[in-house]
């Protein structure tokens, strides 16, 4: 199983803004288990989808060389349910700019033009941490497989992965 909660990118402005979409379907098992008898796309997975949209936006700004991790969810407010058959649109906008230490994003999720959620989150570049961590050189966040998958999912700006590189 892959832990990916967005289907594709539909807009991408390097270092500034990204928009992804996710189609919600009853074929997804978790919809049956989250609230039995009332299938919903769980808000926690919408936060994860925003983290993936924003994480790729932040990672791409430095050519996926940094280990970008979700460091905190500053704010998450949900306004309406997302049901099977819905397509949600996840828009992440970088606050200011992507810096050497990391970045913050402001996110909005909509469905048919209606506001579903407002989410703010922070991403850190692990190797630039104030407290140095003993990490491998290999980028375990943006692996070659992950970047290949991103290209398949319509992130046209991405260059082909370097053979053997991250």
């Amino acid at each position: 199983m892959r832990w990916i909660w967005i289907d594709k990118f539909v807009e991408f402005e390097r270092g500034r803004r990204a928009v992804s979409v996710k189609n919600v379907t009853l074929a997804e098992e978790h919809l049956h288990d989250h609230v039995p008898g009332y299938p919903l796309h769980p808000p926690a997975l919408m936060i994860e989808g925003m983290a993936q949209t924003g994480g790729v936006l932040v990672g791409e700004a430095f050519d996926f060389q940094e280990k970008v991790v979700l460091a905190k969810v500053t704010r998450a407010v949900f306004h309406r349910h997302v049901r099977p058959g819905d397509q949600i649109r996840l828009e992440a906008v970088v606050q200011g700019e992507v810096r050497s230490e990391g970045a913050g994003i402001e996110g909005r999720i909509t469905c048919n033009g209606l506001l579903v959620a407002e989410i703010e989150m922070m991403f850190a570049h692990l190797d630039q941490s104030r407290v140095p961590l003993d990490l491998d050189e290999e980028n375990f966040v943006f692996t070659e497989d992950f970047i290949r998958m991103l290209r398949m999912r319509n992130l046209g700006q991405l260059p082909p992965p370097e053979p053997g590189g991250a």
Partner: protein, 132 residues
């Protein structure tokens, strides 16, 4: 139009409330960002972003919260800042009140210098001493 100190303080308070999820009443001048308001490492970056946006200023890495003064043996020995270390800290943080810290400059107490008042002074300096 130049902002008054009260206006700067209010915007700083707003940034800290949003970044740290604390109540407005907790954000008093003497409150320490870490020990009193609960900021963790990523929160410092969040605060920097919010201040940049609120005041339309640029805050280079390490400018507000110096993060590399303590890595040199020249500046730190036996867990305390040397005279040169103190001089470096003063040069890097002219907006901080080091009077108490200087008496016993334990490295681990440096985080206590990061107070609400210190941020207000820093912003005042960035804005050209407005309201001072």
């Amino acid at each position: 139009m130049a902002l008054s100190r009260d206006e700067i303080t209010e915007k700083v308070r707003e940034a800290l409330v949003d970044a740290l999820g604390v109540d407005e009443g907790e954000v008093v001048a003497t409150a320490r960002i870490g020990a009193d308001l609960g900021a963790e490492s990523i929160d410092y970056l969040d605060i920097v972003f919010r201040l940049e946006k609120a005041f339309n200023i640029k805050i280079p890495r390490g400018d507000l919260f110096p993060d590399n003064v303590l890595t040199s043996e020249e500046f730190v020995q036996n867990g305390k800042l040397t005279d040169r270390g103190l001089a470096e800290l003063k040069a890097r943080m002219p907006y901080a009140d080091l009077a108490q810290f200087e008496k016993n400059p334990n490295v681990q107490d440096i985080a206590d210098l990061f107070t609400v008042e210190m941020i207000v002074r820093y912003v005042e300096g960035k804005l050209g001493g407005a309201g001072a």
